[in-house]
């Protein structure tokens, strides 16, 4: 039952093969059984069973929403009314959100059953899920390895069948990289496609929520429910949402795939490169044409990102001051003491590092040299993509330079950790949509392929991913012990 796709479950629920309550109970027991993966920060058992009962009643009355009764889980960055929303931080360990994020509202309205809240890097800052206050998540394919981050709880939970699908957020690769490392499918939508309201901000101009699931088909269904204009988010775009599932079956003959030479140079692991080449060969067989493109400014993406994202986060995280909510130090002596100790105790090392970097970059005398320069680079990178996407339909390349690295391997070397996002970060700077889909293994660990499309081309990306998944079964592989 837990290996079925959303459509299969929806059918099973309506044929009376099983109920949502039974399905939910199954997932709840699997979550308990595999608690050592540390995917969940909070399991909302009672709420889930209540929602499942409601879903069963709705289905009995003829409800047709594909997500009704489907067990899903939310990354703990999305505010959920009445439920702890920790953002992976000690700072919010005591925070019960008094309202729902728009994404949560939409999925609730679609009838989905929330199993709980998923572990993540603290405030979404990290690429390995090791910065979480709740400890690292383990990769179900290789439990000594990281699941990727920051949406590591989401990717591991979906791969281990501890949820049918999950939400994630992606600021510099946080959906795509963990999806690749856990062998699942993930999509970072165009900036503005999914509402950011109620999604705790890390870097506002880069953050974007998106779906994580086993297949492109499931991803399309989840994205459908998450997308759309939200008047509560000024940066969300008022454009109609296409039918993502309807586009899946289109033929991709004649598809022009761009391969940026900068994506396949030094730094890319040889085995990973081979797996990617094979997948691209598969696309050729499906009728695609290949073309080399160039992204000359790509090497500037990481430095630009590590100015812009910390600058925004330095302001975004100022509200965690121990005054109104979140962690407050014991017996503050005065205001400065309240701030210093509450923040000093509440934030982890990586969060502090980024707040300090951002504060520095915005300081008087440094603003032009760092922040403004980074914004100019951002423009150049967008222009590179624009130019490339005028020549081809989509761009393909690796998601990450290696497969999932070992737990503890990079956590003390921030620069090396940052470099693991080298292929994903530029896409956030440009605001483009991109996907990661499983295309094989290297030494038993999954490898992902990244597909980058033009603004609002999510339907095209899903179509291209689905066509590959029709002729491959990498997305159907189940990690050992989680069958």
């Amino acid at each position: 039952m837990h290996n079925k796709s959303i459509k299969e479950i929806a059918k099973g629920l309506r044929c009376g093969d099983f109920s949502s309550v039974e399905l939910t109970q199954l997932f709840l027991s699997r979550i308990k059984q595999h608690a050592q993966l540390n995917c969940y920060v909070t399991v909302t058992e009672e709420l889930a069973l209540k929602a499942a009962r409601q879903a069963d009643a709705k289905i009995a009355q003829g409800d047709t929403s594909l997500l009704t009764g489907i067990p899903i889980a939310q990354k703990d960055i999305f505010c959920t009314q009445g439920v702890k929303t920790s953002c992976g931080s000690k700072m919010l360990d005591n925070f019960i959100a008094p309202y729902n994020a728009t994404v949560v509202e939409k999925l609730n309205a679609a009838g989905a059953v929330m199993l709980g809240k998923l572990n993540m890097d603290e405030f979404a800052m990290g690429s390995s899920n090791e910065t979480s206050y709740y400890g690292p998540v383990k990769n179900p394919w290789h439990t000594n390895s990281v699941p990727g981050g920051s949406s590591g709880g989401s990717s591991a939970a979906v791969a281990a069948r501890l949820s049918v699908c999950a939400t994630g957020t992606d600021t510099g690769g946080s959906i795509r990289q963990p999806a690749a490392h856990c062998g699942i499918t993930g999509l970072k939508p165009t900036y503005g496609r999914v509402s950011r309201f109620g999604m705790i901000a890390y870097a506002s101009s880069l953050d974007q929520g998106g779906p994580m699931a086993r297949s492109a088909e499931d991803t399309a269904i989840l994205l459908q429910a998450m997308s759309g204009f939200d008047p509560k988010d000024s940066t969300s775009l008022d454009l109609p949402v296409p039918d993502y599932s309807a586009a899946l079956d289109k033929d991709i003959k004649g598809l022009k795939i761009g391969l940026p030479k900068e994506f396949f140079g030094d730094g890319l692991n040889n085995d990973v490169a081979l797996v990617i080449e094979k997948a691209i060969e598969e696309y050729k067989k499906l009728g695609a044409e290949l073309k080399e493109v160039s992204m000359p400014n790509l090497k500037l993406a990481i430095p630009a990102y590590y100015v812009i994202a910390p600058a925004e986060c330095s302001a975004n995280l100022s509200r965690f001051d121990g005054v109104r909510f979140g962690h407050r130090c014991d017996n503050p002596q005065d205001l400065a003491d309240l701030y210093t100790r509450s923040r000093g105790e509440g934030f982890g090392k990586e969060v502090k590092r980024r707040i300090l970097m951002g504060t520095y970059a915005l300081s008087a005398g440094y603003y032009d040299a760092y922040y403004l320069k980074a914004q100019k680079i951002r423009r150049l990178i967008s222009d590179d993509f624009k130019k490339a996407l005028s020549e081809v339909d989509v761009i393909m390349g690796p998601v990450a330079p290696t497969t999932a690295f070992g737990l503890g391997e990079k956590i003390d070397n921030p620069i090396e950790m940052y470099l693991s996002d080298i292929y994903t970060i530029a896409i956030n700077l440009a605001g483009l949509p991109a996907m990661s889909l499983p295309i094989g293994f290297s030494e038993g660990k999954p490898v992902g392929l990244q597909i980058i499309g033009d603004y609002f081309a999510e339907d095209r990306l899903l179509n291209i991913a689905h066509q590959y998944q029709m002729v491959s079964d990498w997305h159907r592989q189940i990690p050992k012990g989680f069958e």
Partner: protein, 481 residues
């Protein structure tokens, strides 16, 4: 102060914070109404809860554009909200959303009148921002309380050029600005509630010197009286300091109204580095020509134009026209009164600038809350005009009207105040008074014209003021020949 003025010149610039009269806050749907229970008008956005996002209130933008057009300013086709970062408990997000490099309103100007001369004061910019909450340093078991009702209230910060040269000019500028924002209907101007307040940048320099002296900024002044006192005090302090060999340091000072002094809050060295950067949660504000034209069409007649019209159309003197156009409600009251009573504009103007404003001032009421509406006052003026009552009796009637809901006619009837036009009755009294005062008659006839007033007074007294004074004069003159 007087002898200082001979050697020194003061240079003043004002930053006025006008709270925009929108129903809801600048970035949330919470109400902006004043005086509610603490923290009852602060929603998730105002509290800066994790995950919330600001959404710009369009009316605040319209109001800012309206203001810009009224001061003949450049309206930025593209303006940007920025985050001003600093920690304070009443600033929920740890940053204030304001505008920095690209404000919505650019260069403009405002004309002020000081000592009969008109002076044009440049306005550097005006920008939109959100207000902070309030810290309540009362006793909460040794802690401070925070009230976030005010957090997110829209403000327009209006920055003048350093072109004001005295506290008097600063007050005139502030008054004029106060008049303007109320005319435009973009700010209620309530200074007690903090809807209109200012910071003053003050420096002094020897007369004739071109460069500016070092300035001090006096924060949060919320009355016209305090602006004048605070600035004068600061000018004096700076001159004394320099003349005794000291140096003015750039700093922020606070005016203490109780002690009538300013004291240092923080120096430049201690000043915050606000680390402004564009707010990524908000899109740039784009103002189209069409939008500007729509706002322009809504602009009311502005005070300067209205004053000019009042002198021309109604033949009023500059002073009365100035008083009557000092607020939109007052000028509306005047024009309604003229229309309703069909009396001479001057009579209407005199009654408003005289008895009505005096009574309003005495009871500390605004014209909008006047117990005597223009319709009722018109009723009174009509009776003066048709000579039913004299001007003097009218004052009595007005006072009774102030205290009741009765019309002028009802009071005149009830109190029997109708002017006596029966010449027979007047004649009888005149005859009696002449007979009773032979001495005065002799004096008058021997050329002492002043005594005539004595007879008028006696007759009016006998008639309890109800005689038509013109008629009494005429008859007395005839009798005393």
């Amino acid at each position: 102060m007087e002898n200082y003025q001979e050697n020194w010149e003061s240079v003043i610039g004002l930053e006025i914070h006008a709270q925009l009269a929108t129903q809801s806050k600048i970035f949330s749907g919470a109400s902006t109404a004043y005086g509610a229970e603490p923290n009852t008008q602060a929603c998730a956005v105002d509290l800066g809860l994790p995950g919330v996002l600001p959404v710009l209130n369009e009316q605040a933008v319209s109001f800012a554009v309206k203001f810009g057009l009224a001061i003949d300013a450049e309206i930025a086709p593209y303006s940007v909200f920025a985050r001003k970062n600093y920690f304070y408990p009443d600033l929920p997000k740890g940053y204030q959303i304001s505008q920095f490099e690209l404000p919505i309103v650019g260069n403009g100007h405002l004309d002020i009148d000081v000592d009969g001369e008109t002076k044009r004061i440049g306005i550097t910019r005006a920008h939109l921002e959100e207000d902070a909450g309030k810290s309540l340093h009362e006793s909460f078991h040794g802690m401070s309380g925070i009230d976030l009702n005010r957090a997110g209230t829209p403000l327009l910060e209006i920055v003048s050029e350093p072109e004001l040269r005295s506290a008097k000019e600063a007050v005139a500028y502030m008054r004029k600005m106060h008049e303007l924002v109320r005319y435009l209907g973009i700010c209620d101007g309530n200074m007690q509630e903090g809807s209109f307040r200012c910071d003053a940048n003050v420096s002094v320099r020897p007369k004739g010197q071109q460069e500016f002296g070092t300035r001090a900024e006096i924060k949060n002044i919320n009355s016209f009286k305090f602006v004048e006192k605070a600035i004068n005090h600061e000018i004096e302090r700076q001159i004394e300091l320099i003349e005794s060999g000291g140096k003015v340091v750039q700093e922020t000072r606070l005016y203490d109204a109780n002690k009538d002094e300013t004291r240092s809050m923080r120096s430049k060295e201690e000043a915050n580095d606000y680390r402004y950067f564009p707010d990524p949660d908000l899109l740039p504000v784009e103002i189209t020509e069409i939008f500007k034209a729509q706002i322009k069409a809504q602009l009311p007649e502005l005070p300067a134009a209205k004053k000019q019209r009042f002198t021309e159309q109604y033949g009023l003197d500059c002073e009365s026209a100035g008083i009557l156009t000092s607020s939109r409600q007052l000028s509306d009251y005047f024009e309604s009164l003229v229309k309703e009573s069909l009396c001479e504009a001057k009579l209407c103007a005199n009654w408003i600038t005289g008895d009505l404003l005096a009574s309003l001032n005495k009871t500390d009421l605004d014209i909008a809350d006047s117990p005597v509406s223009y319709q009722r006052l018109a009723g009174l003026l009509i009776r003066i005009n048709d000579q039913t009552i004299s001007g003097k009796i009218a004052k009595q009637v007005f006072e009774l009207m102030w205290q009741s809901n009765s019309t002028a006619d009802e009071i005149i009837d009830e109190k029997g105040l109708k002017q006596i036009t029966d010449t027979g009755a007047i004649e009888a009294i005149i005859d009696r008074i002449i007979a009773e005062n032979p001495g005065q008659v002799e004096q008058y006839l021997s050329g002492k014209d002043k005594v005539f007033g004595f007879f008028v007074g006696q007759v009016m007294k006998e008639m309890q003021g109800k005689a038509n004074p013109a008629e009494v004069n005429k008859m007395l003159k005839a009798k005393l020949k």
